[in-house]
């Protein structure tokens, strides 16, 4: 029979190993495996339990001086880390696909290449219609918000 030293939150601390209990509805198995993989250089890890109700992660530190509670807490932190990463990467999936599609389609463009912005004498070509520095800036500002104002100094100026 295994003697249990203490139970803290979702952790059981034994003499030379700890067991972290996880809810698979909160942490998907892929996240648990990722966090367990991260832990491998610090501890031996065995995953057990029921994938539907409760997943148990047993960790035995490679170094005897490691604090088991701290190790368990680090594992819990890493679970959140990977869970957030998974959620974010799922949210950004379409955006990443679009960026890759756009980058790849750039290589398939046909037609003449754009003229160089700089000529041989190192002067900027003004024949580029899309060059923002070559065109006078026009701003639609009917209320004259962009006007240069005198700095306010007296209290009356602020009214």
């Amino acid at each position: 029979m295994i003697e249990e030293e203490s139970i803290l939150d979702n952790m059981e601390i034994h003499k030379n190993f700890a067991i972290v209990s996880l809810n698979p509805k909160i942490y998907p198995l892929s996240v648990i495996f990722s966090a367990a993989y991260w832990l491998l250089d610090k501890a031996h890890v065995i995953i057990d339990g029921d994938p539907e109700t409760e997943i148990l992660v047993e960790m035995r530190p490679r170094d005897k001086d490691v604090d088991l509670k701290e190790l368990g807490n680090k594992f819990n932190d890493e679970l959140i880390n990977y869970a957030v990463y998974t959620v974010q990467s799922t949210r950004n999936k379409r955006l990443r696909e679009m960026i890759v599609e756009n980058a790849l389609s750039g290589n398939l463009r046909t037609g003449n290449p754009q003229p160089p912005r700089w000529d041989d004498s190192n002067k900027q070509n003004n024949n580029d219609d899309f060059c923002p520095t070559c065109q006078p800036e026009t701003v639609n500002d009917p209320n004259d918000i962009a006007q240069i104002r005198k700095p306010r100094e007296k209290p009356e100026d602020f009214r």
């Binding site: 890890v45 065995i46 995953i47 029921d50 994938p51």
Partner: protein, 77 residues
């Protein structure tokens, strides 16, 4: 819970099939280099023997870690 037991100079690794599929265990047995002899029983237990004066339990845990590496190799988040 104990997944690793030592009996008669043999390390017996009994893992949960829900998390460690048989295909991964077989692949692990083929590729694991830390033991002299390693075989899978009909009940799905892994028997590890070694001639060296090595810590059998440690080898068992190393084997489990190796399986986790194989699982994660095809499932990176």
């Amino acid at each position: 819970m104990p997944s690793i037991t030592i009996k008669e100079d043999k390390c017996i690794v009994d893992l949960n099939k829900e998390f460690y599929p048989e295909s991964i265990i077989k692949k692990g047995i083929e590729q694991f280099k830390g033991a002299k002899k390693i075989e899978l029983s009909t009940k799905g237990k892994v028997f590890i023997t070694t001639t060296k004066k090595a810590d059998l339990e440690e080898i068992g845990y190393e084997f489990c870690d190796f399986l986790l590496t194989l699982i994660q190799g095809g499932n990176e988040v």
